[in-house]
Symmetry: C2
């Protein structure tokens, strides 16, 4: 009887231990991505990594939510569902390796239930099984969920690689500052290292400083995190980087029509002050292009001091736009160099173009953002 | 004999302990300031704290080093010693509570021995027994000592409160980033808290980023430290702050002659990019005025978004200047409010003026930088 009791105790203890180990495993992997650790890597057939940017969906209540700034004949049948249908078609035609949502994903002010709106807005990405990442704009939190609450919901969704904030960083402003590494093709020499660095930042909503009215900006804590992260990554390999956030930097105002591709049809709605992130980006050296939304009818992309500053152009139908000027999306394609032995090497060039939401998803404004060899002929 | 041995052992042990305690005490206080812990506090007779700013001494080899840009009749007898004599007179007339050297303390390119130059340049401060603080400019390191080496020498000098970098901060750009607290008058209710916060930053020398030529700038790591420090200090008390560094911020270019006091006789030689420190300063909220050097023949001080941006004007004789336009120095006076019971309260106002190196050390451009009560009549 005494021996049986000992056996029972040992059995119970072993079982408890087994359960606790299993729970830890699930918690650990779910930290990365809902139980499925999705590592970003270049496609080994094409030697490419393809990013679809969706800017300013302004999603509200789906079918019930009318469109803004479309042609008179479009109003009757136009709703948030047109936004959904546009994403679905873009995913189908581009088959991206990553979908990036650069804020104003939902239009909080017109949203009955922000969670339902987010679920509907991101649904095409979730159901595509393609990894996706999101940051916040200035309109997302205008309903009942705070910015923290919004990002917490997002990071819990399926197939997202979004993060609330970087692991191990105690003090950082905003919610949704993180980076993602894109590894080389499976089995290649760069299969276990990042050869393309992606940075996502929370550019805030509105200034909380009375003396500085207007939009938010990227704060010193975020810039310090970015700079430290970029430095650590560059110690491992000289990979190019791309940065995604919502509100344009003041330096977007540096262009005139002679030195960009695309259009500038409205003012640059950056913060009213310069918080120095462009300087920090140029100083860090790896980021070759910045992608924002916010100004829906600007879609240009121009180079300044070696860094391209690009708009995506407005994507969503329940967002201001310009009737007759198609909603649009920006695609970025990073391509690897093919070595003489047929294997894939480092990133050789990064290009971008946009697609219009017309019958053909017309491609426009194809341009090269970066080449590994500066003198590379295109 | 056994008892005597025990007495001897006890005596030796006690003596060793006494020595070790004394050593610790000396080490502890010498951490603060060479064995003399100099706490900055407001003067209890006048209820004032007075700061003398010395910008761009450009000290080289003392008597052997000729002056620049003085009147023809002055050249024959003019040398670095004129700079020394000017400081001595300024100390005598102002009796400052703190002397701040805002960089280009020595002119490295013309210096035979940078340590000897620094010792000579700071000698009037050292021998005055008044606490002093220094930051570096862009010319200090042009001899055989690195910026780190220069600051290490400075922090070891007598009566200085300069620090190499903030204690407990692992990663920070530059050398000579620190803050000093000025406590209330001795024995008063604010005698143990900072009622005036002073920030000192290394604005660098030259850009190390090829795409950004020109002068250095205050980096994200420094801005993050400043912002965190300011936040911590403001949690304790709402004390006003002042910031001292060498290179002007790009926002110094925001003024025209209608909205500043003093003169602008040359361009604003800031970095060619905006690194956002002005935004960080305004966002932090406590800094009411910034004091720089670098542009010797600008001495203006103007307000922008609630923060005064001030030049000191060139102090040193072996520095470019303008013949016939006196070398000068900026004084800041913070004054406490007198309570109805006769005791001193918080800082009531902060004012500034300059003194010229003429026969009378003429006071010019007296102006108020901040008042505790915005509507306070002057």
């Amino acid at each position: 009887m005494g021996r049986l009791l000992r056996i029972i105790i040992v059995f119970i203890c072993s079982f408890s231990l087994l359960i606790s180990v299993n729970t830890e495993e699930v918690q650990s992997s779910s930290f990365f991505n809902n139980g499925i650790q999705q590592l970003l890597r270049f496609d080994k057939n094409k030697g490419e990594f393809r990013i679809l940017q969706v800017a300013d969906m302004h999603y509200a209540n789906g079918k019930k939510t009318a469109c803004e700034d479309v042609l008179p004949e479009q109003y009757a049948h136009c709703s948030d569902l047109n936004t959904t249908f546009f994403i679905e078609r873009m995913i189908q035609v581009e088959k991206p390796d990553l979908i990036v949502f650069t804020g104003d994903n939902i239009y909080g002010a017109d949203t009955t239930d922000p969670v339902a709106s987010m679920n509907a807005a991101f649904a095409p990405a979730v159901s595509s099984n393609i990894p996706w990442a999101a940051v916040l704009g200035n309109h997302d939190q205008e309903s009942t969920l705070s910015r923290e609450g919004l990002m917490k919901h997002i990071v819990g969704m399926n197939h997202t690689l979004s993060q609330l904030n970087p692991f191990g960083v105690d003090v950082i402003d905003g919610f949704g500052n993180y980076n993602l590494e894109v590894h080389g093709t499976e089995g290649s020499s760069s299969g276990n290292e990042s050869i393309l660095n992606l940075y996502f930042l929370d550019s805030g909503d509105y200034s909380t400083v009375p003396a500085i009215p207007g939009y938010g900006w990227i704060k010193p804590s975020q810039q310090f995190w970015f700079q430290q992260t970029s430095m650590k990554l560059q110690k491992k390999s000289k990979a190019p980087g791309l940065a995604y956030f919502h509100i344009p930097l003041p330096e977007y105002s540096s262009f005139d029509s002679s030195n960009y591709t695309g259009v500038k049809q409205e003012g640059i709605s950056s913060a009213s002050v310069n918080s120095g992130f462009f300087t920090t980006l140029v100083g860090a050296g790896d980021v070759k292009a910045v992608f924002v939304g916010h100004d829906h009818i600007n879609d240009f992309c121009g180079e300044l001091t070696g860094v391209y500053l690009c708009y995506a152009g407005g994507f969503g139908y329940h967002a201001y736009g310009k009737a007759g000027w198609s909603r649009r999306s920006r695609v970025v394609v990073a391509s690897l160099e093919k070595k003489s032995n047929g294997s894939w090497g480092a990133v050789e060039f990064i290009k971008t173009y946009k697609r219009l939401d017309d019958g053909n998803l017309t491609v426009i404004d194809d341009q090269v953002l970066w080449t590994k060899t500066p003198s590379m002929k295109w």
